[in-house]
């Protein structure tokens, strides 16, 4: 049975095409791009809701579940700038983390494929070998991360190194949380990218909690971007719940990278609206913080913006939601019907064969 194809076309506007006219110096996406971004934010939210609140609780997912609820604007706003659709000498490469579901979707992973991954099926991206967000596929230009957060930073730098070696203007996107930034590998990777002037866009999702550790116990500076001058690279902090701010900041960093000016450290401040994982009730987070950030929900904000511009109306939004739910129904059904791997497949793929 063929994999269902996503009903919405992959984000256009990235194949060396202009990403939209600049307005007063700030990058602004065109209408099509705005709708694409809205779609992916809503799809991500809905898919992760299904995973965390439905399937996990029904016992249909084994192992851990880590969602990026409330943080969708970061992945989506950033991923709009990832160059796709060409070949190895054209396309960018991306190293997402566990809260970046939208990146996977926008790089061409269907919800069905993601669900097959979570359910450990043979036809998922890792064929059942690894779980939850630990997926990748170089054909989709996705580098799979590992649980040892921070390890991906030097790896991302390495991918960018090849672009410099080949003399292209490709870029590497690296996503991580504020907690991962405390790791030694993070430091080594960023310093390396800085010295070598590598085209990496380092994107920090500062959702203010690393499991139970608040950001005030993770670092003694207020913003991670304050680390940037210590590496001699530009750094910026912006509102992670405003997808257009994200879009703008990442766009400028990408332009810088493609011009050969080296890496940028971007920090997007948001809030982790769930526990660390599905089993964590986040009792250590003051309830008032959840309430405060609920009011800043990135999807509602963006919808309000687009409604104001008359790019969509209420009916269009409901229609979008209905199509998404239908797509997800199909995806869940497909994934649940997928076979598990054969036990002996455990032995396959350790080495090149």
């Amino acid at each position: 049975m063929a994999r269902p194809v996503s009903a919405v076309p992959k984000p256009a506007g990235t194949k060396r095409a202009e990403t939209g006219a600049a307005t007063e110096g700030r990058l602004a996406p065109g209408d099509a791009a705005l709708l694409t971004m809205l779609h992916y934010m809503k799809l991500t939210r809905a898919l992760e809701y299904r995973i965390e609140r439905n399937l996990y609780r029904q016992g249909k997912i084994v192992g851990g579940v880590y969602v990026g609820r409330g943080q969708e604007a970061i992945s989506v706003g950033a991923a709009m700038h990832i160059r796709r659709g060409g070949d190895e000498s054209h396309d960018d490469i991306v190293s997402p983390s566990h809260r970046d579901m939208a990146v996977f979707l926008m790089q061409g992973f269907t919800p069905a494929l993601v669900l097959a991954q979570y359910m450990g099926r043979r036809t998922g991206p890792t064929r059942g070998r690894d779980g939850n967000m630990h997926m990748g596929d170089l054909r989709h230009r996705l580098v799979a991360f590992i649980s040892h957060l921070g390890d991906s930073i030097p790896v991302a730098a390495g991918t960018a190194l090849t672009f410099r070696m080949h003399g292209t203007d490709q870029a590497s996107f690296c996503f991580f949380g504020e907690g991962a930034a405390s790791r030694g590998d993070w430091h080594e990777g960023i310093n390396f990218a800085a010295v070598m002037k590598l085209p990496v866009i380092f994107i920090c999702n500062n959702n203010q909690y690393a499991y139970s550790t608040p950001v005030s116990r993770q670092m003694a500076v207020r913003h991670l971007s304050e680390r940037a001058p210590g590496y001699g690279i530009p750094g910026e902090t912006a509102d992670g719940n405003d997808v257009l701010e994200v879009y703008d900041a990442v766009g400028r960093a990408v332009a810088r990278a493609r011009r050969g000016e080296g890496p940028t450290l971007l920090e997007f401040v948001t809030f982790r609206m769930t526990g660390h994982s599905a089993h964590d009730d986040a009792g250590y987070v003051p309830k008032a913080l959840f309430a405060e950030w609920e009011r800043k929900d990135p999807i509602r904000r963006f919808e309000k913006d687009l409604l104001g511009r008359r790019l969509v109306d209420a009916a269009a939004l409901r229609g979008m939601e209905a199509r998404i739910e239908a797509e997800l129904d199909e995806a869940v059904a497909w994934a649940e019907a997928q076979p598990y791997p054969e036990p002996r497949e455990c032995l396959v793929g350790v080495y090149h064969e």
Partner: protein, 335 residues
Amino acid sequence: MKNPGLPRERLLAMHRFLRLTRMVEEKLSVLYRQGQILGGLYSSLGQEAISVGTACALEPTDLLAPMIRNIGSLLVRGVTPRDLFLQFLGRYDAPTHGKDGTLHFGNVPRRALIGPISHLGTLIPVMAGAALAARMRGQDRVALTYIGDGGSSTGDFHEGLNLAAVLKIPLILVVENNGYAYSTPTERQFRVESLAARGPAYGCASESVDGTDILTVHAATRRALERGRRGEGPTLLECRAFRMRGHAEHDDMRYVPPGLLEAWKDRDPIKRFEAFLAEEGHATPAAMAAVADELAAPLEEAAREAQESPYPPPEETLKGVYREPGYEEPWWPAP
């Protein structure tokens, strides 16, 4: 050079340690060329003011962890030239019984000294933990250690300094920016002008000073100490100097542009300090030369004793992996 209010005897003591450091290292170099030293030899030529200046600023109970170019710090702490010669010659009476070379040794109870390992950066979290423990025990002790411009790129540098900053640990991290990490110049090591830029990056204090000016180094260390004792957390203290010899004795430094070495010769820390002492009337050139003469004979004697000192017996190899009699605490008595 400006005296930050140190009395004459203190200044003269610092001068003596500078001279001693250089002479010990010269003697080691001689021994190396005679093929007597086992393993590598790393010089601090041109950087002696950093070791001596920082170590002299500490109280004897403050914790100190030297790195490979900090023989001067050890001498200030009371490690003798004989101890050092024994170490480099791999003899039984050395502070490690011959188990490790160079200055890879310590003695916490008697010298508040923690010894390094070769993996750069590892001392930073270790010293953060040591100072943290001192605080837990109600002791007012600051920890000081060193790292090079190269070592600042390591993950442990980051994790250790961040931990110290977050927990406001009184750690002084002396960054010896001497221009080169082996053959790697600083332009290939990081992209900032001064590593002091990393202080604000971690939310801690930082300074950058002339590492060839011993009084500036001393004064900056005192400021960092006071900061630490006031509970304001770590200080990153960059001391700028130049590595006047190769990475190690075997390295001929061919990758260093010749003009650079010449330019730094004028900034020799001992030359500068002696000029200051003479100008300020603390000592005459003759008196200062006499210091070197005074130190010479005992130094030779120490070297000779070390060379005649026995090697460890082969069975020593198996000893001290775990706690056992003789290895319950640093065996080295450190008089």
